[in-house]
Symmetry: T
Subunit: 68 residues, 12 copies
C-alpha cells in the first residue's frame, strides 16, 4: 500500500443565512477545481454588518483532499 498524501487549500465561503451554508458554499466552489476532498477544518468565523444587522457570514475553512 502506498502512503497517501493530502493537500490543503484555504477558502472563505459566505452566506446570508448561516455558518453551515457558508461552509457548504466554500465546499461547493472548491469542488469545481479539486477532486477527492476528504475533510475540512474551520479556521475563522467573521461577518459583514450592514444597517445594524448581520449581512453576511464569512467562514474560512481549510479543505484537505487526496492527491494521486
Amino acid at each position: 500500500m502506498t502512503d497517501r498524501v493530502y493537500k490543503k487549500i484555504e477558502i472563505t465561503g459566505t452566506s446570508a443565512t448561516s455558518v453551515e451554508d457558508a461552509v457548504k458554499n466554500a465546499v461547493a466552489h472548491a469542488a469545481k477545481t479539486v477532486r477527492m476532498m476528504r475533510w475540512f477544518e474551520v479556521v475563522e468565523t467573521r461577518g459583514r454588518l450592514e444597517n445594524d444587522k448581520v449581512a453576511e457570514w464569512q467562514v474560512t475553512v481549510k479543505i484537505g483532499f487526496a492527491v494521486d
Copy 2:
C-alpha cells in the same frame, strides 16, 4: 480622502437556539449604543448546560465600527 479609523468592542450574545441567533442578539444590542458597525469576528463559543441539555449558546464577538 481621510484615513478611516475603526473601534472594536467585545460583546457576548446568548440564545437558547443557535450560534447565529446569539451573534444577532449581540449585534442588536450593540446597535443601541454604536453606529456604523461594519464587521464582527467570533472569538469564543461556549454555552450553559442545564438538566443535561444545552440551555444557552454564548458567543463572544468583536464588533468593528467606524468612527468619525
Copy 3:
C-alpha cells in the same frame, strides 16, 4: 460554604446537519456517564467531506461538570 471543584472532559460530537446538533449529541452522550454538567466550550470545528458535500459536522467541546 465549601469551594466547588469542576472536572472537564473533551468530547467530539457529530451530526449530518449542523454545528448545534453536533454539540447536542456530544452533550447527550456525556450525560450517560457524568452528572451535574454546567457548561461547554467549543474547541474545534471540523467535518468529513464525501462526494463533494459536507457529510458530517464534527465539533469538539470541553464539558465542565461539578464534582462532589
Copy 4:
C-alpha cells in the same frame, strides 16, 4: 425570558503586593463606571522591576458585565 447580552472591557490593575490585589484593584475601578459585573478572565500577568525587586504587579483582566 429575554436572551441576555454581556459586554467585556479590558483593564489592567496594579498592586505592590500580589496578583490577587492587582485584580481586585482592577475590579474596584471598573465598578465606578459599569454595573452588573459577572466574571473576569486573566489575560496577562506582568510587572515592573526596580532596584532588583518586583515593584508592581500588573494583571490585565477582561471583565464581563450584563447590559440591559
Copy 5:
C-alpha cells in the same frame, strides 16, 4: 527500566481567597480518585464577580499522574 506513561486530567478548582488555594482545592479533589500525581500546569485563571467584588477565583489546571 520500563518507559513510564502519564495521564492528564483537566480540573477547575475554586477559592474565595487566592489563586493558590483554588489550585490546592483542585489537587485535593483529584487526590480522591487518582494516585501518583506528579505535576500540574495552570491553563486558565478566571473568577466570578458579585456585588462589585471578586467572589470566587476559578483556576483550571491540568494534573499529570503516573499510570502503572
Copy 6:
C-alpha cells in the same frame, strides 16, 4: 502611593502609505476621547487590495491609558 489602573481599547487605524501611519492615525483618533494614553500593542496587520495594489494598511492596536 495609590495603585494605578489602566484601561485598554482596541482600535484599527488605516493609512494609504505605511504601518506606522496607520498606528499614528489610530492614536490620533483615540486622543479625541481618552486622556493619559501610555502605550500601544499591535495585535493585527491587514490591508485592502485594489487593482492589484495595496490600497490601505489596516493596523489594529490596543491602547492602554491611565484612569483616575
Copy 7:
C-alpha cells in the same frame, strides 16, 4: 445511521529512544482501558536531560476513541 461520538484523553508517553516510541507507549497504555481508538494528535514534545544527554523523550498526545 446514528451520529457517532468520540472522547479524547490526554496522555504522555515516554521513551529513551525516539518520538515515535514515546507515542507508541502512550497508545499501548491507553489500550488497557479504552477501546475503539481512532486517532491521536501530538500536543507537546519535551524531554528529560541527564548527564548532558537526552535521557527520555516525553510526547503528549490526545487520543480520540469512539464511544457507543
Copy 8:
C-alpha cells in the same frame, strides 16, 4: 445575489528596505497569477542578517481573492 467565495494563498515577499515593500512585492507577484485580489493578512515578519545588518525583510502574507 450569489454568495461570494474567496480563496487565500500564502506568499512571502522580500525587500532590502522595508516591511511595506516586502508586502508590495508579494502582492505584485501574486498579481501575475490571480485576479480580483481583495485583502491581505500579515502572518509572519522575519529577516535575513548579513555582516551584522538586516539584509532582507521577509514578510509572509495571506492574500484573499474572489473566485467566480
Copy 9:
C-alpha cells in the same frame, strides 16, 4: 538584485513508520508540481490508530518554494 518571492503550500504526508518518512512523502509529492522548493515547517502531527496501534503517521507541513 531583484527581491525574491516565495509561495507556500500546505500538504499532509503520511507514513506507516515515522514522522520523518511522512515529511519526505509530502516533499516527494510536492516535487511533482512545484520547483525550487527551499524549506518546510511542520504545522501538525497526528495519526490514525487501528487495532490499538499506530497505523499511520500524518504530518502536515508548509513548503516554501521560490517563484520566478
Copy 10:
C-alpha cells in the same frame, strides 16, 4: 537621545508557598548576573505534586533589562 535596547532572559523561579514568591526568587537570582532590570512577563505557571499536595510552584518569567 539614544534609542534604548533591552534584552530578555527566560527564567523559572520556584517556591513552596506562592506564585509571587516564585517570581521573586527568579528575579533575585537574575539580579546576580544582570543589571538594570525593568520588567517581567509571566509565561507559564506549573508546579510539582508530592503526596497529593502542591510541593513547589514553578513560574517561568521573561525578564527585560536595559543594555548600554
Copy 11:
C-alpha cells in the same frame, strides 16, 4: 560536514521613527556581543505614547546566530 547549531536571543529595539529602525537598533546592539548572526523573527510590536503621540516604537525580535 558537521551539523550546525544556532542559538537565539530575544532583544527589544526601540526607535522614535519606525518599526524598521527599532529592529536595526536591536541588531546593531546584538552585534556587540554575538557573531555570525543569520536571521531574526519579529515576536512583538509595541510602543510608548506620550502627549497623545507615538514616542517610541518597541519591537522585540529573536535573533538566530551560528555557534561554532
Copy 12:
C-alpha cells in the same frame, strides 16, 4: 531547602537524518557552555529542502538548566 531557579536558553539543532538527532546536536552543543541541564521543550520543527529532498532537519528547543 533553598528554592531552586532554572534558566532557559533557546537553541536550534540541525541534522541530515532525523528530528531526534537534531535535538541531540542542540543538547550536545549547549553542554559546552551550561551545566546541570534538566529538560528541553521542542518549540519548532522546520527544515531545508535541496534538490527536492529534505537536506536538513532544524529543530528549535528550549533547554532548562539549574543555576546555583
